[in-house]
């Protein structure tokens, strides 16, 4: 009998394999020859052919797929068509921007959202509840790129407290690097926080309507301790689900914010790679994101078991 965890891992591997076929096939049918794109409008036909040969594009599809898959298994993601450096190096460089950005945003949005959700739920129906949820609704509605531009205008152009964009690299020191991530992470965190606050509130309200809450109140616990000790813990499952989704989104979905702040992150790498038909980079990044999403789902599933002891016995 397979344990819960190893079953999940096997499913994860099968998903990865299926994803690799889909990713490879989809990118192969996307029109556009990378060699021709690189050599441009004045290129002679024999120069294009020579480059195709150099990039291995003239081999049959299946040969290239298995070559690529073999590489994936040994940790070799191939060499970028355009940059001519190993894909893994490109991805590692970009993760050094995207991962901290995603983590800071996540921390920021959680720090804002949980107290706001708690506050709102505990004052259900009051003016302060309506006001905070109204504010959250605005937060959901504001497009993050617009909010980003507003932040740039106030804090970079007018006050000149932080740079308008760019990333000096971690080698430039902790503070300059963090400084350049402040505005992007706020711009990313705000809409996420708004969503999370609303989810927290409604999850709490659902739980607060349960019988055991009434029982807890009846046995004499204060509203406060019922809220923190009983309600919050039970409301954590939907909150964790959203958090997991948000983290995957933060890592993958930062294309717009990374463009506004011209940060050299994963989102921009994949965007640039798609327009330049650097297929091997796109394939590498997408596979990484697939792996991340699978991993996060696994972690979220495992954390359910931590917050809800009833799930622990299941196999």
């Amino acid at each position: 009998m397979l344990s819960y965890a190893s079953k999940r891992v096997l499913i994860g591997i099968a998903t990865m394999l299926a994803a690799s076929i889909v990713v490879f096939a989809v990118l192969e049918v996307v029109p556009g020859d990378p060699a021709r794109l690189m050599l441009g409008m004045n290129a002679t036909e024999d120069a294009v052919r020579a480059l195709q040969e150099q990039m291995g594009l003239n081999q049959p599809l299946l040969v290239r797929y298995f070559h690529w898959l073999g590489g994936l298994l040994t940790g070799n993601l191939g060499r970028s068509y355009t940059y001519a450096v190993p894909v893994i190096d490109l991805i590692t460089e970009r993760i050094a921007v995207s991962l901290p950005l995603a983590l800071i945003s996540l921390a920021l949005s959680t720090t804002i959202a949980l107290p706001v959700g708690l506050f709102s739920a505990s004052r259900r129906g009051t003016i302060s509840d309506t006001a905070t949820m109204g504010a959250a609704q605005i937060g959901v509605a504001i497009p993050n790129f617009w909010f980003a531009l507003l932040l740039v205008y106030i804090f970079a152009v007018t006050l000149r407290l932080v740079p308008a964009g760019g990333f000096p690299g971690w080698s430039a020191g902790m503070w300059p690097a963090l400084k350049s991530l402040i505005l992007p992470s706020i711009a990313l965190a705000l809409p996420q926080a708004a969503i999370l606050a609303r989810v927290t509130r409604s999850a709490l309200l659902d739980v607060l309507g349960e019988d055991y809450i009434r029982t807890a109140r009846a046995k004499g616990l204060t509203r406060r301790s019922v809220l923190y000790r009983h309600a919050l813990r039970n409301a954590l499952i939907p909150i964790l689900t959203i958090l997991g989704l948000q983290f995957a989104f933060l890592l993958a979905g930062t294309i717009i914010i990374e463009n506004v702040f011209y940060l050299p992150g994963l989102g921009r790498l994949v965007f640039q790679a798609i327009t330049q038909r650097d297929l091997i980079v796109v394939e590498g990044v997408v596979m990484l994101l697939v792996a991340t999403v699978i991993l996060i789902n696994l972690l979220v599933d495992l954390s359910y078991a931590v917050v809800d002891p009833r799930l622990r016995g299941r196999t």
């Binding site: 029109p31 556009g32 794109l37 050599l39 120069a47 000149r160 308008a164 964009g165």
Partner: protein, 494 residues
């Protein structure tokens, strides 16, 4: 409280000003560029973004193109041409070293040119070297290049970024770590972020005035504006946000320099496909386009109208816009003469640049006025190259031809215009074989006129070079005769 806040802010402002003035005698510069180069080897890729970093700064050729589009000597000190116009003998500069310390000599010239025209060449402009028959090392600093036929363009061709001289020791690694002979050497490249070059202390010629230059990659127009305003960068030689040019023009901290480029923007037509095989239809389309409305609408008023395929800054340029002046009534008449009185349905395939997408909307609306229904099909670059450029599967398209000296594209067989005019081909052959400047000017003008009346494509406007930089910077190019950011004469002044 307010008072305190005010004085605190004033203090902070003074501190800021003080900290900026202490950098007064600056020798470093941060420039913005829109596109990140795929790699840094100009001999192995078409991307203008490569030349925008390395041309004249890191790599040098036998000749080079100057700020006005003129051919200047570079690594070749001087040259002679044989009487039959077929053999060039170049005398090279002494004491030239590559950035890695290896010496430069005639062997490097032979290596570079043979590599660029060889079988395995992936040079994006391999055609530049097609005239070369042999390259021979005569002496260590003398190289002889024999041509298959006389070529009036040869010295110009050798000034392209694709024709720079590389060393056999470093040719294969130039993509990542470019080693040239120029006044700047490559320092570092943080992918997706910036490229840093610094002064080459051992440069053979006039040394650079800057110690260090950083090219920061900023693809987003709004971000480009913010980066200049916030002082993160001090120059954007090809500024992408036409919308905010006026804002910088009004700001005394900045200089706005609008120049011309080699980018002739055309409405390309498939000359072999009916009804575009009929010259009257092509003329009707050209007369239906209001170039001024197009430039105002798609380019915020920036750009020079053109009536043929020739850059307005060139000495041989003649203004032929009146040949296809805006005249919808004439268009309708020409369409009727061509047998399309009621107009027709067609498609307009547009690549991603703003000039094409916005310009396409305007042109489609103008064509509707004369009865032509053009369906707009937006394409990505890779798709455009595949379908329109290579596949010739299109009716009309809009694109800017940014290569210099490219009048001959209308004489190429198998080019996407599908234009086949023997008289024009003869003219181009004559131009290529002529070195005498006056005769060339005359031939160039004949060719311009021929295109203006035969309308193989509707000629729209010349792309502008929109430079925005700190008012204290001098030496950046006004025009873009080639796509480059030559920093050799750039300096800060007070």
């Amino acid at each position: 409280m307010m008072k305190f806040l005010k004085s605190a802010l004033a203090g902070a402002a003074i501190a800021l000003v003080a900290s900026t003035t202490s950098f007064a005698a600056k020798t470093d510069l941060v420039l913005g560029v829109v596109l990140e180069p795929p790699h840094l080897d100009p001999t192995a890729g078409a991307a203008a973004a490569i030349d925008e970093i390395v041309y004249a700064n890191i790599f040098e050729g036998l000749t080079r193109i100057g700020p006005k589009g003129e051919v200047l000597p570079d690594l070749a000190e001087s040259w002679t041409l044989s009487d039959d116009g077929k053999v060039y003998t170049f005398q090279l500069h002494k004491n030239v070293k590559f950035h890695d310390g290896t010496a430069f000599d005639a062997e490097d010239v032979k290596f570079s040119l043979d590599r660029a025209r060889g079988d395995k060449s992936t040079n994006a402009q391999k055609g530049l070297f097609a005239d070369i028959d042999t390259v021979d090392v005569v002496e260590p600093l003398t190289v002889r290049i024999a041509l298959k036929q006389p070529s009036g363009d040869f010295l110009y061709n050798m000034g392209w970024g694709d024709a720079v001289i590389v060393a056999p020791e470093s040719a294969d690694t130039n993509k990542e770590k470019p080693i040239g002979t120029g006044p700047f050497k490559f320092d570092s490249w943080a992918k997706g972020s910036q490229i840093v070059i610094s002064k080459n202390p051992d440069y053979w010629g006039t040394p650079a005035l800057l110690e260090k230059a950083t090219f920061r990659i900023i693809p987003d127009p709004a971000a480009a504006t913010a980066a200049l305003l916030a002082g993160d960068i001090q120059a954007f030689p090809v500024f992408p946000s036409y919308e905010t040019i006026a804002q910088f023009q009004a700001d005394p901290r900045f200089k706005v320099v609008i120049g011309t480029t080699e980018g002739e923007t055309v409405l390309g037509m498939n000359n072999r496909k009916p009804p575009f095989d009929n010259v009257k239809v092509r003329q009707a389309i050209a007369h239906a386009i209001d170039r001024k409305a197009l430039i105002d609408g798609a380019m915020f008023g920036l750009g020079t109208p053109i009536g043929s395929f020739f850059p307005p800054h060139h000495p041989a340029y003649i203004d032929l816009t009146s040949e296809t002046a805006f005249d919808p009534a004439l268009s309708k008449k020409l369409l009727a003469e061509a047998g399309h009185a009621g107009g027709f349905k067609t498609t307009l395939k547009l690549p991603p640049p703003t000039y094409a997408r916005r310009g396409g909307e305007i042109i489609a609306a103008e064509l509707r006025e004369i009865g032509i229904e053009a369906e707009i099909i937006p394409l990505e670059w890779a798709q455009w190259l595949e379908q329109v450029f290579k596949g010739k599967d299109y009716d009309m398209t809009i694109v800017s031809h940014t290569e210099p000296n490219d009048l001959n594209i209308f004489a190429r067989d198998d080019y996407y215009f599908n234009y086949d005019n023997p008289a024009f081909k003869d003219l181009i052959k004559a131009i290529e074989a002529t070195s005498d400047p006056e005769k060339r000017t005359d031939l160039y003008q004949q060719a311009q006129k021929m295109l203006a009346t035969d309308v193989p494509a509707a000629f729209l406007f010349q792309l502008p070079k929109t430079g925005v930089w700190d008012a204290k910077i001098e030496g950046l190019w006004e025009n873009g005769p080639i796509q480059a950011n030559d920093l050799t004469a750039v300096k800060w002044v007070d």
